[in-house]
Symmetry: C2
């Protein structure tokens, strides 16, 4: 970040962009729309970001940082099932906050030069997922060997990154037909329920005992 | 299919298209390329298919039929572990034969009006996957309730349809850096190994006993 640029305007642009990208879909929103929504001249917007891709890039970087910070367990007490439910909630919040990224990641990777940062982000998340499983194994909440942890981490990554697209292409679990850009909190919650079911056979102890309650929580619709 | 059209030319166009789409990527191949490769005038090609999308559509229909015919177990003898290994091989063959479809399915869905047939195909495959699990449960090879079968079928579908893209975006399991269109038999084999690992905790009897051998088979590279 350029320290000569007033933080406030830059932040306002990112916040407005995120809101409009999420609400209308990134492809529908131009830098002119963004400038108009902020009561700002396009020239002023370009002073802060040279183009829309630069804004997407900055939002992706923020998303990756938020997700990396989220995919951790607290280390001030022994791991509990509540920590895991809490992790799911935080992941859901981050996914929801940056939901425009998941509408058409393939398109963004192609157009916004996100290949290299996305690859680094993917590998980092995969390692964090393995670390989360190792912590659950150490706490007696999961039983799995290294190969199984790899399989789970990869499966959860592929599922999480393609869940919205899966719902749209199949029409499954949708309360009503949705335009391909639509994404709701219920769609994300159903994805978390899917991950919970995936992990079920590996659960032990407290985690196994709490499985039914956790599933029931995410099976409930918010709408 | 129009019965007035000689089958041979139509078939030749489809075979050549499949070969060039697989080899060079669908986006790189125009109808002019196709006509030239067949020593045919573009007009003659258009007589059989009004445009490239019509060819893609016909190839997708064929792929969907082949996959539907593949996702079954023989019903003339009790199900064995060999039937399951055989199923994997046949799935791999079909995926490989129509590999251009998996390079950028999102793009094809948008451009070639494949949304409706793709949705029908997805739901059909999901039901076939559930049916395959029910057969394995009946044969004592798998232990799983209806919810688990749903979870497995969906997970395998999402994994299978996004596996190639996952390898390209992360760079994992690639013997060398690959262009985003590249797809090799080893990449598909690694995907089958992933599915085998996913199913591991649900296996019983003969299937559980044969797990190590099946994994070893798909862990071997063909190159």
């Amino acid at each position: 970040m350029n320290s000569a640029v007033p933080l406030k305007t830059r932040e306002r642009i990112l916040a407005t962009s995120l809101q409009l990208f999420n609400g209308q879909g990134e492809r529908q929103v131009t830098t002119n729309h963004l400038a108009a929504a902020m009561g700002m001249s396009p020239g002023n917007l370009y002073y802060h970001f040279k183009n829309k891709d630069a804004i997407i890039h900055a939002l992706f970087t923020r998303y990756a940082e938020r997700m990396a910070a989220t995919l951790t367990f607290p280390d001030d007490h022994p791991l509990t099932q509540a920590d895991k439910a809490n992790l799911f909630e935080r992941v859901l919040t981050v996914l929801w906050e940056f939901r425009f990224l998941h509408r058409d990641m393939t398109h963004l990777l192609e157009t916004a030069e996100l290949s290299a940062p996305y690859r680094a982000f993917s590998l980092r998340v995969l390692e964090q997922l393995r670390e989360l499983y190792r912590a659950q194994i150490a706490a007696g909440m999961i039983e799995a060997d290294a190969e199984t942890i790899d399989t789970l981490a990869i499966t959860i990554w592929i599922t999480a990154t393609n869940w919205v697209n899966f719902l749209h292409t199949t029409g499954l679990f949708l309360d009503e037909p949705r335009a391909s850009g639509d994404i709701t909190e219920d769609m994300l919650r159903r994805g978390i329920l899917h991950v919970i079911c995936l992990e079920a056979p590996y659960l032990r102890g407290e985690a196994k005992a709490g499985l039914a309650a956790l599933k029931a929580h995410y099976a409930k619709s918010t709408s």
